[in-house]
Amino acid sequence: MTVIEARGLRKVFGTRVALDGVNLGVEEGRIVGLIGPNGAGKTTALHAILGLTPYQGELKVLGRDPWTERDQLMRDVCFIADVAVLPRWARVSHLLDYVSGVHPRFDRAKAESFLAKTDIRHASKVRELSKGMVTQLHLALVMAIDAKLLVLDEPTLGLDILYRKQFYYSLLNDYFDRGRTIVVTTHQVEDVQHVLTNLMFINRGRIVLNCSMEEFESRYLEVMVNPEQVAAARAFKPIHERQVLGRSVLLFDRVDRQQLAALGEVRTPSISDLFVAVMGNHAGAAQGAIQ
């Protein structure tokens, strides 16, 4: 089942094109990372998916038009848009009451059992909680909702590594299953490398890479090449090259592993290295086009 389907999704703010004809499809049971530099259109794309902003083009989320049917859609879709959007005046118990009051798929007992594992007390006000605890609270509320699609926009921004690890750990172990779909944007790509099933890069309002993690692992290989073999390695047309401690690290796209093994140590690149390579090439190509 296709959870999100976009065709020619476009959004313009004044003269700035935030989304420039985005096509994408997200299948059920996936954890998709939407990765891109600042201002690439990540948040705009997510806001369109969540019915928070009008758009041009075709977009269906769980078969609904998000802009005109946001309130019905939110029965099956949940989101954490940015850290610390919980109302600061509210008590934890207020929020539990309110969400169980308005959400037909909210399981209060489940939210309370998540909260029991944290230091958050029911009588606490959101303003009294630390940033990490607010995120834990929001995650506890969201994970207790039996939603089909969960959208996370920079959910761990500004949190320390312990909270970040725990966040994704809870998400994978206590929430995710094959019936659910998660879309996440983050700049902390190393946190999600082993969480994602699918990877999308977005730049200048366009999707520049869209692959599954299996495809990512089989397609992209990184080789730490000995100095004397650099020329031979460059013959395989690396998409990116960088220097680490006096040795060259070359990143290849669709080059046979056996051939590369002769040149040096072969390994799967990190998402961030691929990101730098793809974005660098993309920016170069765009500049070339301007010139």
């Binding site: 902003t53 939110m74 959007v85 109302p87 005046w89 509210a90 037909p104 489940k110 998540f114 039996d146």
Partner: protein
């Protein structure tokens, strides 16, 4: 941690097996109103504080009461009533003034606060429509505040009446005059009618205008609400040398309903009976024109909230 994560898959299957809970359409509305009350505690704290202060003032005034009541019986019955009812009318007026103030400040912040603290991103992540949210917010000035003000005023006046009677009895005086002159039931019915006509339905366009501006302005909502009115009034004065627009907005705001023209303009009427609107109020076209404008402004506020995000 382990026991919890082991238990999860079962409970997930359970919850997927059952049909999604059917939810009554009034529940989101009820909870949205509850949200407003816990977000804006001044809705009930301000009237309670005003009632408390009034009661304190009344207690102090009790000191000279037996002496004043003694002199009353010599007066003409009409003046007797005036003199006995005065503290009760003052109490009602204080409560009404409080209600107007709370309403204005509430409306000016209603759709602004959630954008300023970015919590709109949380509220919009739940299955509550913009219509429900805006109507819940509008229900504060149109339903909650008048009823609450009415209830607190009655409670206040009952306490005053009991205190009054106790002081009179203790000083060996007759309480009958107090009870016969006040005619409490009539006083309360008039109060209820007055609250809903002069201070709710009549100024409806003003309140809805404030709600709309609070959903639009990026800062200083009250300033943006007042500025266009001052500008229009100024232009009118310059071009036509008239001030109809300012007078129109002014009468709407103060609750000066069309049928109370007999109130002398330089005195603030204390007795609810003097500025009670007549039954004909409900059939005046001015009222209905105002209500149509109010509904239009509210519809614009609903539409606007769809487009608005955090600021």
């Amino acid at each position: 941690m382990n026991t919890q994560s082991n238990a999860m898959p079962e409970s997930l299957q359970d919850s997927q097996g059952i049909a999604p809970a059917v939810m009554s359409p009034t529940r989101p509305m009820y909870w949205s109103v509850r949200r407003e009350l816990s977000e804006n505690r001044s809705i009930y704290l301000a009237p309670l504080a005003a009632a408390g202060t009034t009661l304190l003032g009344f207690l102090i005034s009790m000191i000279g009461l037996p002496h004043r009541m003694g002199g009353l019986s010599a007066l003409h019955p009409a003046h007797q009533r005036e003199s006995i009812a005065l503290p009760y009318d003052i109490a009602a007026s204080v409560m009404m003034a409080t209600m107007i103030l709370v309403t204005v400040f509430y409306c000016a912040d209603a759709l602004y606060g959630e954008r300023r603290d970015r919590s709109i991103l949380f509220w919009k992540s739940l299955p509550v429509s913009d219509l429900t949210t805006v109507l819940a917010k509008a229900s504060i000035p149109f339903v909650v505040l008048p009823l609450l003000t009415f209830a607190i005023t009655i409670a206040l006046q009952v306490i005053m009446l009991l205190l009054n009677s106790a002081v009179l009895l203790a000083s060996g005086m007759n309480v009958a005059m107090l009870w016969t002159q006040l005619s409490v039931i009539q006083m309360w019915l008039l109060l209820l009618y007055h609250l809903f006509t002069a201070h709710t339905l009549w100024p409806a366009p003003v309140y809805c205008w404030l709600l709309l501006v609070s959903g639009w302005a990026r800062r200083a909502t009250l300033l943006w609400a007042v500025l266009p009115i001052v500008a229009i009034a100024g232009v009118e004065k310059l071009v036509f040398q008239t001030s109809h627009f300012a007078a129109l907005v002014g009468t709407r705001f103060i609750g000066d309903t069309p049928s109370v023209a007999f109130t002398p303009p330089d005195t603030f009427p204390m007795d609810p009976a003097t500025h009670i609107t007549r039954a004909g109020f409900l059939s005046t076209p001015d009222l209905w024109i105002g209500l149509v404008i109010a509904v239009g402004l509210l519809a614009a506020a609903v539409r606007l909230r769809r487009y608005q995000g955090p600021i």
